[in-house]
């Protein structure tokens, strides 16, 4: 099945810093989502982005489908950005089942 790799696995930042999270996937996809899991475990959908670029406030994401990677940018990080970020994809084989990466734990210190 399709493989998803995220990097870096963990990241510690000072408030105000910028960061880039990377997601590599092993096959063509028809769905790619970035999620933020808050300290209570809730998975919040940040972007649905199988291709192209989207922005939402301080967050933006870019997926280059032909090169099989996606990037999540966090600018001017805040302590509330802390948590685990997941990239998840589903392949083009007709299944909509999302396969998750292992996640990246972000800690933003004040």
């Amino acid at each position: 099945g399709i493989q998803v790799e995220q990097s870096p696995p963990d990241l510690i930042l000072q408030e105000g810093a910028n960061s880039t999270l990377r997601c590599n996937f092993s096959d063509s996809v028809n769905n790619l989502q970035w999620f933020h899991q808050n300290p209570w475990g809730q998975l919040i959908n940040l972007f649905y982005i199988p291709s192209g670029t989207k922005q939402n406030g301080r967050l933006s994401a870019t997926t280059v489908a032909t090169e099989r990677y996606s990037l999540l940018y966090i600018s001017s990080s805040q302590t509330t950005d802390s948590g685990v970020y997941f990239c998840a994809v589903s392949g083009q084989g007709g299944s909509e089942k999302l396969v998750f990466g292992k996640g990246m734990k972000l800690t933003v210190n004040p």
């Binding site: 769905n31 989502q33 999620f35 209570w40 475990g41 809730q42 998975l43 959908n45 649905y48 685990v84 997941f86 998840a88 909509e96 089942k97 999302l98 396969v99 998750f100 292992k102 996640g103 734990k105």
Partner: protein, 110 residues
């Protein structure tokens, strides 16, 4: 608007006891529904998915089962819990433009 409800939020059960976790969705018809488990660490593993009433697909052999008695209801069950069933269980509703997750149930088997 579409919403997804999941309960209970936390559960502590003894080994060998039965389990029933319920997930319901509102505001949509014939949704694809999914059960994921997040064990210690960060990865999310797909357990079951359903594309319609009575249609259940299992992704991994295990001590759990799922049922979909109504269009908008998805139930995760076990006859006898094992210690290894502990984890964070998430229900999700998926459409072509992305997944939405419930708030999760944190299960501890003691």
């Amino acid at each position: 608007s579409q919403t997804i409800h999941q309960w209970p939020a936390t559960l502590v059960q003894p080994v060998g006891s039965p389990l029933s976790l319920e997930c319901t969705v509102e505001g949509t018809s014939n949704p694809n529904l999914y059960w994921y488990r997040q064990a210690a660490g960060r990865g999310l593993q797909l357990l079951f998915y359903s594309v319609g009433i009575g249609q259940i697909s299992s992704e991994v052999p295990q001590n759990l089962s799922a049922s979909r008695p109504q269009d908008r209801q998805f139930i995760l069950s076990s006859k006898k819990l094992l210690l290894s069933d502990s984890g964070f269980y998430l229900c999700a509703w998926g459409v072509s433009y992305g997944y939405t997750f419930g708030s999760g149930t944190r299960l501890t088997v003691v």
